[in-house]
Symmetry: C2
Subunit: 391 residues, 2 copies
C-alpha cells in the first residue's frame, strides 16, 4: 500500500518523488495552494490547474462549520462541490480549533469549541475528524492533533504531544476508506527529544505519510530550520514528508534542503491580496508609487497571465482603485511564481544541481528582515488573541 | 463618414445594425459592460471577450482622477493599458461630476468640482473632455453634458439642456481625431417639448451618434418609456442611438422596442456582487437559504462558465463565506445572460420575430416591483446626497 502511494525517485539532501492519489499523480516537492473554504481565494479551479497545480489543500474545520460536511457529501464530495479534478489534502481542523475558535476545552475525548462564525458549540473527536474527511473524499487526510503555542513551555508542549499521539492512534483505528491516505503529525515544539519521541511513536502506526506540525508558529527561523532538519532526518525515507503551514519562497527552498516533500501556506495568496508580489529578487509591493508609470510587467520574463498581459502600472492602478481584479492578478502571479520555484527545485534535485540552485536562490532572494518578520508575526498573534478575548 | 461608422441593417420598431470602429465591428443592439476604472469589475478582458462582448464602456471622470489621463497616454492609451482589444466607449464624465463629486460649480465655461477620492479641485470644460477622451483613445467619445436631477423642475432642466447644447457645439469644434466618433447627448428631462428642441439642436451638429441622457434617474418607468419612445423616434434613422446608463434586462427589451441601439449599465455587474442573478424568469438571490443544497446550476440550460461548472449550492456557499470568487462567478453569469438576451433581441429583429420575443420575454421575466424599485432608487439617491453633504 505504501509503495503505491509514494514513489521516491531521488534523494540527496533534497528529495524528488511522486505522490500517487485517486485524483492523479503529483510530482514532489510540491506546494499546495490553500483553499480552506473550498476555494483558493479569488481563483477558479481552471486557473489553478492552468498554472500547473495538481493538488490543493482544504480544511475540515472551515468546511464542517460552513457549508457543513453533510451538504458537501450530498453534493457529491469536495472534488465535485468545488469542481476540482486534481488531488486534495484536507487538514483535520485541529490547528484551526486551537487558533481560530474563540473558546475551547480539550479533554482526551476530543475538543469542545465554539464556532468563530456564529459562536455555536461543537465537539470534534479524532474519530469524527476522520469520518468527516472521509465524507469530504479528500485524497490525503490528516489526524486530529493538538498544537501548543510555541512559547507554552516544555510541560504543555509535551502534554499536547502525548494527546496528539493518543489521538493519532484513534484516527488510524477509525480510518475506513482505502483510497484515502492518512498522515500522522509530529509535534514536540522546539524540543529535540520530544520531536524524536513523537517520530518514533508515529512511525509505529505506519501512516501513509508524516507531517511536521507546530513549526513556524512564532519561533525564530534558525530554531525552526534546525528542528526541521533533525525531525525530517528521523522520518521514514520511503514516506512523504509534509511541513504544515510553511511556504514562503525561502522556506520552501530551506525545507526541501532538509528533506521535505510537501508544503502548504496561505502566504503567497494572502500577501498577494495586500499587493506583495514575489520576484527572484524578493517581494515587491505593487502599491509603491514607483510602479505608477512602469510600462513593463511586475517581473520581466515571468510567464504568468498577469505579467504577460498587464503593466506594473496597470496593476498598481487596480490596487490603488481597490478593484477586485487586482487581487486575482496578484494571486495568479504569486501562485505561478511558487509553482515555478518548486519546479526548479525539483528539476535541480533530479539533475543533481540542487545545491547550486539553493545557493543562487538565497543569494538573490531578499527575504523579509528576521526582526521585522518576528515582530509582524507577534503583532498578528497578539491581535488575534485580543480578538478572541473580545469575543 | 457617417455611413462608415454605422450600418443600419434592418428597422421594424426594433433595429439591428453594426457599429464600425477602429477596434472591430460591433453588432447592435449592444449592451456595454461598465468598466469605469479601466476594469469591468472582477473580470479579465479575456473573460469579457470570451462571453462575446466586443465593446465596453469606460469613464473619463474616473480615469482622469485615477490614474490620470497622462499616465494612460504614456502607457499607450486605454486599450493597451487595460489589455482590451475590442472597442471602447468613454463617457465624458459629465454625469459623474454631477453625481459623484461632492462639490461643484457650473458656469458656461465648464464645471469646477472636487474629487470624490481626495477632495482635490479640478476644472473640466467641453474642450478638455474631448482632449482627454482623445488621449485615452476611446472609439466612441461623449460630449460633456449637464444632467439635471429628475425632480429639478422645468426651468432648471431647460437651463441644463441649453448649457448641454452650447457645450455640445464646443465639443464638436474641439474634436481633432478622425478615427474616434463623437456622440451628442439629448437632454430635456421628462418634458417632451424640451426633448424635441434638444434633438433638433443636436441634429444640426451632425454627430456620429446620439445619446439620450437624463433618463432612469429616478422618474417612474412609464414616463421614462414614453419620453424614450418620443425622443428616439425623432433621432436620425441612420445614426446609432445610445440610451445612457440604462440596462436592466426588461429595459433593454423595452429600449430596443423603442428603437435604441446601445445600452450600458452597472446593474448586471453591481447586483451580481450582491448575489442577484438573472434568469429568464427574473432575478433570483443566491444568498437565499433555499439554494444551500441545490445540486443543479443557478439557471439550468445556461452555458456560462458558472452554470456549467458549479452548483447553486456552491455559489451560495461562496457568497455565504464572503469568498471573492463569488463575485466573479455571479458577474460572469449576469454578463453572459445580458449577452444572450441582446443576441436573442438582435436575431429576432433580423428574422422579423421581435414582437413575439418581446411579449414572451416580458411575460416570463418577473421584474422588480415598480414601487419597491422607485423606493430603492430614492433611498439610494438620498444616501448619496447625505454622504455628499457630510463631506
Amino acid at each position: 500500500m505504501t509503495d503505491k502511494k509514494f514513489h521516491l525517485l531521488i534523494e540527496t539532501q533534497a528529495r524528488a518523488g511522486e505522490l500517487i492519489t485517486s485524483h492523479g499523480t503529483v510530482p514532489t516537492p510540491v506546494f499546495l495552494p490553500v483553499g480552506s473554504q473550498a476555494t483558493v481565494k479569488t481563483l477558479t479551479p481552471d486557473e489553478i490547474s492552468g498554472i500547473g497545480y495538481k493538488m490543493i489543500l482544504a480544511n475540515n474545520y472551515h468546511l464542517y462549520l460552513r457549508p457543513g460536511i453533510e451538504v458537501i457529501k450530498k453534493l457529491g464530495g469536495l472534488h465535485k462541490f468545488m469542481s476540482w479534478e486534481g488531488a486534495i489534502l484536507t487538514d483535520s481542523g485541529g490547528f484551526q480549533v486551537f487558533s481560530l475558535a474563540p473558546l475551547r476545552k480539550v479533554t482526551d475525548d476530543g475538543v469542545m469549541f465554539r464556532s468563530h462564525i456564529d459562536g455555536s458549540q461543537h465537539f470534534l473527536t479524532p474519530e469524527l475528524a476522520v469520518e468527516y474527511q472521509e465524507a469530504l473524499g479528500s485524497d490525503v487526510m490528516m489526524v486530529l492533533d493538538e498544537c501548543a503555542p510555541h512559547d507554552a513551555g516544555r510541560e504543555k508542549v509535551a502534554e499536547a504531544m502525548h494527546r496528539t499521539h493518543r489521538w493519532a492512534a484513534r484516527c488510524r483505528e477509525a480510518q475506513k476508506s482505502e483510497n484515502q491516505s492518512l498522515y500522522g503529525i509530529v509535534q514536540g515544539g522546539i524540543y529535540s527529544d520530544l520531536r524524536k519521541q513523537s517520530v518514533n511513536f508515529l512511525k509505529e502506526l505506519d501512516f501513509e505519510g508524516y507531517a511536521i506540525g507546530g513549526l513556524s508558529v512564532g519561533e525564530p527561523k534558525d530554531i525552526m530550520y534546525s528542528i526541521l532538519a533533525e525531525t525530517a532526518a528521523q522520518l521514514p525515507v520511503e514516506k512523504p514528508r509534509y511541513l504544515m503551514g510553511v511556504g514562503s519562497p525561502e522556506d520552501i527552498v530551506e525545507g526541501v534542503a532538509r528533506g521535505i516533500d510537501i508544503f502548504d501556506c496561505v502566504l503567497p495568496t494572502r500577501v498577494a491580496r495586500n499587493g506583495a508580489l514575489f520576484t527572484w529578487n524578493g517581494r515587491v509591493n505593487i502599491r509603491n508609487a514607483g510602479y505608477a508609470q512602469q510600462t513593463g510587467p511586475v517581473m520581466p520574463g515571468c510567464g504568468c497571465y498577469t505579467c504577460t498581459h498587464f503593466s506594473a502600472a496597470y496593476l498598481h492602478h487596480l490596487f490603488n482603485a481597490g478593484e477586485l481584479l487586482a487581487y486575482r492578478l496578484a494571486t495568479l502571479h504569486n501562485l505561478t511564481f511558487m509553482h515555478s520555484l518548486v519546479k526548479k527545485v525539483r528539476e535541480s534535485t533530479i539533475d543533481g544541481t540542487f545545491s547550486g540552485f539553493y545557493e543562487e536562490f538565497l543569494q538573490n532572494y531578499r527575504t523579509t528582515d528576521e526582526e521585522i518578520r518576528l515582530s509582524q508575526k507577534q503583532k498578528w498573534l497578539k491581535a488575534r488573541e485580543a480578538k478572541e478575548k473580545a469575543e
